[in-house]
C-alpha cells in the first residue's frame, strides 16, 4: 500500500513531478554529455600524442631523457628494433635518431628538433606519410631530403624544393652544418609540435652525426593497450640497461589529462547532483507542506512516523527512478550519435591545435560512468528527500489535522 500511495502521490501534481523528472533527465544528460565530450577531447589529445609523436612505448638510453645529448644513443639499433618486434603484443616498432639543432633560411633561423626517421617504418607507426600535405614523402631518391611543417615553412618563407641549412652537434661534439632540400610539407593536429619538429632520413642524419648504426629512440605501437604495462615489463626485462617507458611516463601531460578527467568528472557530477538535490528538496517540501492535514490524519489513524518517512522517501526515489533511466538513455544515444559522427569544432581549431586536439571531437564514455551516475541520482534523490521527510514526521497530528 505504501508503494501504491507513494506512486500515486507523485502524480497528484503532474506538472511539478514532470518538472522534477525533467530536471533529472537534463541533469543526467548534461553530466553524460559533458563527461563524454571531455573524455573525447582527452582521447583526441592522447591519441594525437601517441600517433604523432610518442607511440605506446619508447626505449632510450637512460641518460638521454634528461640531457637530450646525441652522445646518449642506442648502438646497433636495427637489431634492437628487430628484437622488439619479436615481442608478444608489439604491433610495429621504428627507430629514430634525434638531435637538437638550428634550421636556417635566408629569412632567419629557428631552434628545432631534428628527427631522423626510417621512412617506411615511420609511415606505419605514426602514419607520418599521410600528414604530408604538399610535395612528396621520402620516396623519391634525393640527396638530403627534408620535410618540415607547413606552419614552419610559412613562417620561414620556405617552399617545396627550397634549400635550408641545418646546424647541429656531431657525436664527437663538433658543430656541423648540412644543406637539405625541402621535399614535403606536413601538418599534424598539434601546431606546437609542427613548429618544433623537422624530419630527415635517419641514414642521412646518422652519416652527418658520425655513427651509422646508432639511434636514440625506439618507438612502438602495441596491439592491446590493456596490456601496456605487462608489455612494458617484458621489454624492461629485454633491455635491463635501457630506459623503457610507456606513453604516460614519457609525456606526463597525457597522464595529467587522464587524471584531470577523472577529477573533473567527479566535480561535474557533484555540481549537477547538488543542483538536483536543492531542486528535489524544494519540490518535496512543497509536496509535504500542501499535504500537512492529510499527513496529520495518517498519523492520527495509526501510521507510524517511519512509514510516513518512507512514503516521502519513496515518492522521491520514484521520481529519480523515472528520470534517471530516461536521462541515461538520452545521454547514451547522444554519445553514440556524436561518437560516430563527431562534433565539429573547427571554429575553435586554431586554439585547440596548439594543445594537440583535433578539430572533430568524438565523445566517448565508459560504461562504468553510466552506473556511477545511476547510483548518484538515487543517492541524490535520497539526500533530497531527507529534509522534507524529516519535516513531515515532525508534524504533530493534532496541529496538522486542523491546519487550513
Amino acid at each position: 500500500m505504501l508503494f501504491k500511495v507513494s506512486w500515486r502521490n507523485i502524480w497528484r501534481n503532474r506538472t511539478r513531478s514532470f518538472v522534477v523528472i525533467g530536471a533529472i533527465v537534463v541533469g543526467v544528460w548534461a553530466v553524460i554529455f559533458m563527461i563524454a565530450f571531455t573524455m573525447g577531447i582527452v582521447e583526441s589529445y592522447v591519441s594525437s600524442a601517441i600517433e604523432n609523436d610518442i607511440s605506446h612505448i619508447q626505449v632510450h638510453h637512460p641518460k638521454f631523457k634528461d640531457e637530450k645529448e646525441v652522445k646518449f644513443y642506442l648502438n646497433d639499433i636495427g637489431t634492437l628494433v628487430s628484437n622488439v618486434e619479436q615481442q608478444a603484443n608489439v604491433k610495429v616498432a621504428t627507430q629514430r635518431t634525434l638531435s637538437n639543432g638550428m634550421l636556417s633560411t635566408s629569412k632567419g633561423a629557428r631552434g628545432v628538433q631534428i628527427r631522423g626517421i626510417d621512412p617506411t617504418k615511420e609511415a606505419v607507426v605514426t602514419k607520418f606519410d599521410k600528414k604530408v600535405i604538399e610535395g612528396d614523402y621520402f620516396g623519391k631518391a634525393k640527396k638530403n631530403p627534408i620535410i618540415i611543417s607547413k606552419r614552419l615553412a610559412d613562417k620561414m618563407k620556405v617552399k617545396i624544393r627550397s634549400k635550408v641549412v641545418v646546424t647541429f652537434q656531431t657525436l664527437e661534439g663538433d658543430i656541423t652544418t648540412a644543406a637539405f632540400r625541402v621535399v614535403g610539407l606536413y601538418r599534424t593536429q598539434n601546431s606546437t609540435f609542427d613548429d618544433m619538429n623537422i624530419y630527415v632520413q635517419q641514414t642521412d642524419l646518422n652519416r652527418l652525426l658520425g655513427g651509422e648504426s646508432i639511434g636514440h629512440e625506439i618507438a612502438m605501437l602495441i596491439e592491446d593497450t590493456e596490456q601496456l604495462e605487462s608489455t612494458q615489463a617484458a621489454l624492461k626485462a629485454m633491455f635491463p640497461k635501457q630506459l623503457v617507458e610507456n606513453y604516460r611516463e614519457i609525456s606526463p601531460d597525457v597522464n595529467l589529462y587522464e587524471t584531470q578527467i577523472q577529477m573533473s568528472t567527479t566535480i561535474i557530477m557533484v555540481i549537477v547532483m547538488l543542483a538536483l538535490v536543492f531542486g528535489i528538496i524544494n519540490t518535496m517540501l512543497m509536496a509535504v507542506l500542501e499535504r500537512v492535514r492529510e499527513l496529520g490524519m495518517l498519523m492520527a489513524v495509526g501510521m507510524r512516523r517511519l512509514q510516513v518517512f518512507s512514503m516521502i522517501m519513496l515518492e522521491t526515489i520514484f521520481l529519480g527512478l523515472i528520470g534517471a533511466p530516461i536521462g541515461l538513455l538520452v545521454g547514451y544515444l547522444t554519445v553514440v550519435y556524436f561518437g560516430k559522427n563527431g562534433i565539429n569544432l573547427s571554429a575553435y581549431s586554431s586554439g585547440m591545435q596548439k594543445f594537440g586536439i583535433e578539430e572533430i571531437v568524438y565523445p566517448a564514455l565508459e560504461s562504468g560512468v553510466y552506473f556511477q551516475l545511476a547510483a548518484a541520482v538515487v543517492i541524490t534523490a535520497i539526500l533530497g528527500a531527507l529534509y522534507p521527510a524529516w519535516k513531515a514526521i515532525r508534524l504533530k497530528p493534532v496541529e496538522a489535522i486542523h491546519k487550513i
Partner: protein, 230 residues
C-alpha cells in the same frame, strides 16, 4: 454498562510559560459502551481539545484518560499510535480522505496498517461500504464523491479497524441538511445495531437533537450533562 472512556481531573493549559490559556479546567467525564454523546459548547469552550485528549492526539497538562481500563496518558508516542490504530476511529470535519486512493482503498487503509489479511479486508470493506450505502462507489476517488458521500466513506474508514469508539470532530460542519440527516441516520443505525460508541464535538443543532447524551462545556468546564431518550 461498562465505561469505555473515563476522564478524570483533566486540565489543559496552552502556552504555560508565556500567556497561559486554560482550555480545560478539571474535566471529569465517563462514557459507557454504546453511548451516542455530543460535546457541545461555544467556540473556545474546550470541546475539540477534550476530544483530542480522549483520542490520544493531544496531551493533558494534568489528569488521567482511561480507555478500556488503560491509562493512555502514560503511553509513549509509539504506544499511542498503536493504541489509536486499535481502539479509536476518527471522523474529521474536512473528511480528510486520501485523495489518491479510491473509496474502497481509503476504508482498507487502516486495516492494512494493522496487518489484516486480504480476505479479511475485502470482507470488512464490503460490509462497511454497504452499511454506509456506497457499495456502488467503491472505486470512486474522493474527488468523484459529494461531501456527504466523502464523510460516509470517512465513517466507514473509522469503523474499519473495529475500534472501541468513534470520535467525530464537527462531522456535519461541511454538509448540507440532507447529507447531514443521512449521515446521522447512518451513524444512529450503527450505534443501535452494533452498539458502537460515538462521541461528537459539534455546534450543529441537528446533531445535538439526535444525541442521547449532551455534555455542555463552557470555559473549559462541564456545565451540564444531559441524558435523554431520543
Amino acid at each position: 454498562m461498562k465505561n469505555v472512556i473515563s476522564v478524570s481531573g483533566i486540565t489543559k493549559t496552552y502556552n504555560p510559560k508565556t500567556i497561559p490559556v486554560h482550555a480545560l479546567q478539571g474535566v471529569d467525564l465517563e462514557i459507557e459502551q454504546g453511548e451516542f454523546t455530543a460535546l457541545v459548547g461555544p467556540s473556545g469552550s474546550g470541546k475539540t481539545t477534550l476530544l483530542n485528549i480522549i483520542g490520544g492526539l493531544d496531551e493533558a497538562t494534568e489528569g488521567t484518560v482511561i480507555i478500556n481500563d488503560q491509562d493512555i496518558t502514560k503511553l509513549s508516542d509509539g504506544q499511542l499510535i498503536q493504541f489509536r490504530k486499535e481502539h479509536i476511529g476518527f471522523v474529521f470535519q474536512a473528511y480528510n480522505l486520501i485523495p489518491v486512493l479510491t473509496a474502497k482503498e481509503n476504508v482498507e487503509f487502516v486495516m492494512l496498517l494493522q496487518g489484516r489479511s486480504q480476505a479479511e479486508r475485502n470482507k470488512r470493506v464490503n460490509e462497511l461500504m454497504a452499511a454506509v450505502g456506497l457499495s456502488d462507489k467503491m472505486n470512486n476517488r474522493p474527488s468523484q464523491l459529494s461531501g456527504g458521500q466523502q464523510q460516509r466513506v470517512a465513517v466507514a474508514r473509522a469503523l474499519a479497524p473495529k475500534p472501541t469508539f468513534i470520535l467525530a470532530d464537527e462531522p456535519t460542519a461541511n454538509l448540507d441538511s440532507k447529507s447531514t440527516a443521512n449521515l446521522l441516520d447512518m451513524m444512529a443505525e450503527l450505534n443501535k445495531q452494533e452498539n458502537i460508541t460515538f462521541v461528537f464535538s459539534t455546534h450543529d443543532q441537528r446533531v445535538i437533537d439526535r444525541a442521547r447524551r449532551v455534555v455542555t462545556l463552557e470555559d473549559g468546564k462541564i456545565v451540564s450533562d444531559d441524558h435523554r431518550d431520543v
